[in-house]
Symmetry: C2
Subunit: 339 residues, 2 copies
């Protein structure tokens, strides 16, 4: 089996690739597990050394739009595409054209590349699209319901959310036409992301854990009361994989599936940090609201009823403390003080 | 005031242009009425003679994508764009690329043309987008609720519906960013359309009145029980105009407004034809189901709760008989027998 991962050198993409390489096989679309013979990692950046050195991994470094333009993105023998590459929320708000190109045009052209393979060979690739809770946006003119379900109308309040939601529609129609076997999962707030901060408005949801654990001060740009629907990287990758694994009847509607989340607040996250790492670590948080970030992040919902995801056997994390302990265990080099 | 109408030579576009020319002025966005000095009609076809000969009308004949490419679509002094041009439902199902180009790419590029004007002059044009009830689609995996409201999640079951729904998202985000003052109305099943049949799967909703009234047999490709949400051309144009007239606060959310409809069935439509024109005329209906048309049309909803539209002062027609009498009065040349 040949697997393509866009954004495969990014944090989630690399974790997905590692998970696939470790399990060595994938049961696609309800079929028996098949051995993974190749993973093509597409990314603007070079992948981490452990991925690059795996003989099953082919790295294609370049801008996704350019790779699509030169027909290098989807190899003819590919079986499944995990589409994770995206410009992040704050980037898209600051640079409208970047978001339209990286999120909308790239997703459209990636689906077109899959459609070309379908036209040429009749093969409908499995296509898993990583959308986001940012498709939901609260506004004074149209308040979100208190609890988001799988049939809540998305009303994005940012270009990133609009572009992701348009991507969902394209995946649904390319799937309905039989060009791909398309599935969309909406990712919750993923924390703790290791490594460097990215341009996402949601970056602090990881930074407020990662930096203090590394002995560095971290700004929390929102109030303690902000509700958040959080999921660990492991649970998130589990959800992305499940979208490839289940058969069409189990998957059901072509609309997106909201992945499970643990529901808390930013204050609850800070408390968990103190519980796990002590008050000297949580004292490294600087509570300094940033109105622009707070406005965008506060427009996102904090509470989900993820009925479809539960029906697919997916579960949320059991606590923020668990998420933190998981991060500490897996990233010993990023922890300054033994906790 | 300079008004641009895409698809302005089509039936609805021409009716909108005539209505505007007749009233001579338009109260835009809650402001006082201003005199209409020019209407630019963009269409692949030449407009009807009455429009072409009006000194206030400028006709630009050409493919919308090509006109956009050569920057001829949106004049620098335009104040409002009514975007009605579209490839219709059955065309988009038969020719996927046509729909993506005519509906998605053209809408995107039209918004980009408006954005360029905004960048150049700071002026945010008023942009009214005609979407469709076809954004709603019933499917076994995701049945529609019995009554559609303004917050029902669209789950389009055709490429036309997907493309219209994506257009709605683009209009909403270009409006949120301040590039345009964007408004979307979802048109109901418009009947009676005069003239020749078009490629829409919904074409028979007009043909089953128009043809028998002209003394010609007409095929009804669906069952009598099919529910339908119908609106006369006059009510439809009223809704499109209201989207330009009201101020932002009255308009409210950036999501689309479902226009009001009269709720009946195809059988009820046939009964109304008999009531108005007699049984000799309704006997010209050939009830011969077409599975492909029936599948698409039956996926559309038949019942709406158009709360936002009612809040804007818009009303549905009062009966199918009224709609028919309106058509007969306005199209005497198309009626064979005095009725």
């Amino acid at each position: 089996m040949h697997i393509v991962i866009t954004g495969g050198a990014g944090f989630l993409g690399a974790l997905l690739a590692r998970t696939l390489l470790k399990q060595g096989k994938l049961a696609l679309n309800g079929a028996s597990p098949a051995a993974i013979t190749r993973i093509t990692v597409l990314d603007r950046a070079a992948p981490p050394a452990d991925l690059a050195s795996d003989p099953r991994v082919v790295c294609v470094v370049g801008d996704l739009n350019a790779l699509l333009q030169s027909q290098q993105a989807v190899p003819a023998d590919a079986d499944v595409v995990f589409h994770l590459a995206a410009a992040v929320s704050a980037e898209c708000e600051a640079d409208f054209d970047l978001g339209m190109r990286s999120n909308l045009a790239a997703t459209h052209q990636l689906l077109e590349a899959c459609r070309s393979l379908h036209t040429a060979s009749g093969k409908a690739l499995h296509f898993v699209f990583a959308s986001s809770l940012a498709v939901f946006g609260n506004s004074p003119e149209q308040p979100l319901p208190e609890v988001i379900t799988d049939t809540t109308l998305p009303t994005p309040q940012g270009s990133y959310g609009i572009q992701k939601f348009i991507g969902e529609q394209l995946v649904a129609d390319y799937a309905r036409k039989g060009f791909v076997q398309g599935r969309t999962v909406r990712l919750m707030t993923v924390s703790v992301r290791p490594g460097l901060p990215n341009g996402a408005a949601s970056g602090f949801f990881s930074g407020m854990f990662r930096e203090p654990l590394a002995g560095v001060r971290a700004r929390v740009p929102v109030g303690r009361d902000l509700p958040v629907a959080i999921a660990s990287p492991a649970r998130t990758v589990e959800g992305i994989l499940r979208a490839a694994e289940v058969d069409a009847a189990t998957w059901g509607a072509r609309t997106a599936v909201n992945l499970p989340a643990f529901h808390t607040t930013v204050g609850g996250m800070a408390d968990a940090l103190e519980n796990v790492a002590g008050s000297a670590v949580s004292a490294l948080l600087d509570w300094a609201p940033d109105p622009a970030i707070e406005r965008l992040v506060r427009s996102w919902p904090g509470k989900f009823d993820a009925a479809r995801a539960h029906g697919l056997g997916l579960k949320s994390d059991s606590s923020v403390e668990d998420i933190l302990r998981q991060y500490i265990a897996e990233n010993p080099q990023a922890i300054k003080n033994a906790v």
